[in-house]
Symmetry: C2
Subunit: 315 residues, 2 copies
């Protein structure tokens, strides 16, 4: 298995997940267009099964396994949405899903994983602790690892968003996604450029977890960043293959403050009328922070998730 | 002008508003379907221009005027969404909109009316005070009255929702809307039954403003109800022609408590990921209160508005 998927792998993923995933709608807002000075086409992955785009990658990975592999179940580590997605995807194939979750994850997301039938394994909130616990579960169960982002099957699944969006809005000039571990950003970049090489690609990254921006600037992966951001879905460090894809596809990463992101989240709620989580709002924050990059363009804007604790809103 | 529109008036309205109104999407939620034991198709009028279905009726009324009538502008009284809709509709024709608003209306809605270019006239929060102020503005300006619900042009505009929804989901068995003044409920009932006479029609009404339920039970219009409900969009007493339409179309009205409505609103936010206002949630509250009426059916559920004060959520 190659480290990065090609467009054929993305097309295969689209066929594989079609029986299970939602074709999410694209929404517009005249008020947000006016504010941005651009034509914003919001791809609503918070309306995806499980409330986040992660179902696409997880579902593609689960249905890529042979029957013999699948019999032992799957395992992953995730701050929430990928774990939930893997549990839901495993359920579509009737297999077990083990989910390693760091202490401090959003309770609503843990509840959703358990409701979806996932088996929770708690660990300390560090990358090393996550990986160690994952290895332990693998050793005990023989479950197949489905990494949240540094996995070609997962990237191919996330890339199906670009196929769908370019079918829904063929005339796009630009496309922006949040950047965390880079599974979404890489998959979408690979698929989008394969279909439309002239598309301008952007990523939005919290300033408090700006390892992708630093890594692209430095020309090598910067792993010294200690994430400090409200955006709980974007705290992972960008993966090695993911970074390669961002570089190869010339994705420009815009960093945004948490304050800018919370203001953008509020706009998405009040104007687009969509319940999106804080990580989802980085993309609008980036557009409003650097309006000249997007002015007058038709921009695809990927809203990634909507799993929010309604009792703990950030304003 | 007849007191009630026929299906031809609804079709004319659809053509008249098409250049200005949004064809709103229909959303689904597996979690809400499971909770209701029914197939719920949510018609998203909170994504209509101005954030509420009211734009349809207002726009149809504005574009039904002759040029000579339109030159004097339009006037209405409204607790918010209709006023905003009329201001937006008037702007599409370049004419003035005078909006009489009762003290105590939601500030976010008043701000929206002003932003849309509407001219605000404040009055006491009684039906009599609203009508007196309206008459005064009419006398001074010659503006055409566009009543929020007891107006055939307005009902015809709201009825276009049924045309659209039955095109999007032809196989519906039942349809439910909130009931306030009855412009939406009457327009939708007339249009829906004209296209599909076997459709079961329901209305959802706050128990604290249950004049429509009482009026249908009594066989005559009950105007003694003093509205006491969180649902600020549903405090108006049902209009005379509107009540006639509900009776003629055999609309069954289900009353719901504010507590049930707030719980349903929270479900619409957390599961459907939609920012809807409290009045919109009466429909889901009614389905969850009387599940046997809806069990196993394909139900069209009209979500009416999404203009919410995000700093004053009811939970």
């Amino acid at each position: 298995m190659s480290a990065l998927p090609g467009i054929d792998a993305v097309r295969d993923a689209a066929a594989r997940i079609a029986p299970h995933a939602v074709v999410t709608p694209v929404l517009r807002s005249a008020a947000l267009d006016a504010l941005a000075g651009a034509e914003l086409h919001f791809k609503c992955e918070h309306l995806q099964r499980g409330g986040a785009f992660k179902f696409r990658g997880a579902c593609n990975a689960v249905w890529s396994l042979t029957d013999a592999e699948a019999a032992h179940g799957v395992v992953t580590h995730s701050s929430g949405n990928h774990g939930n997605a893997l549990a839901l995807a495993a359920a579509t194939r009737g297999i077990a899903a083990h989910v390693v979750v760091p202490e401090g994850a959003v309770q609503a997301k843990l509840d959703a994983i358990a409701r979806a039938g996932g088996i929770l394994h708690r660990c300390a909130p560090s990358q090393a602790a996550r990986e160690a616990m994952c290895a332990e579960v693998q050793a005990h169960t023989g479950a197949a690892l489905v990494h949240p982002y540094a996995d070609a099957r997962v990237m191919a699944g996330q890339g199906t968003i670009a196929l769908e969006l370019l079918r829904q809005v063929p005339a796009l000039d630009a496309l922006i996604t949040p950047v965390g571990g880079g599974g979404l950003a890489a998959g979408v970049a690979i698929a989008a450029h394969a279909l439309k090489p002239e598309l301008a690609l952007f990523g939005a990254e919290p300033a408090g977890a700006d390892d992708a921006a630093r890594s692209l600037a430095a020309g090598e992966r910067v792993i010294s960043v200690v994430p400090d951001t409200l955006c709980d879905g974007l705290r992972a460090l960008v993966g090695e293959p993911n970074l390669d894809a961002l570089r190869a596809q010339r994705v420009e990463v815009v960093t945004v403050s948490d304050a800018g992101t919370v203001a953008a989240m509020r706009l998405l709620w009040s104007e687009l009328k969509q319940v999106v989580e804080v990580s989802s709002a980085t993309v609008l924050a980036a557009i409003l922070k650097q309006p000249r990059r997007f002015a007058g363009r038709r921009v695809g804007v990927v809203l990634t998730g909507g799993n929010v604790d309604l009792d703990a809103l950030p304003w």
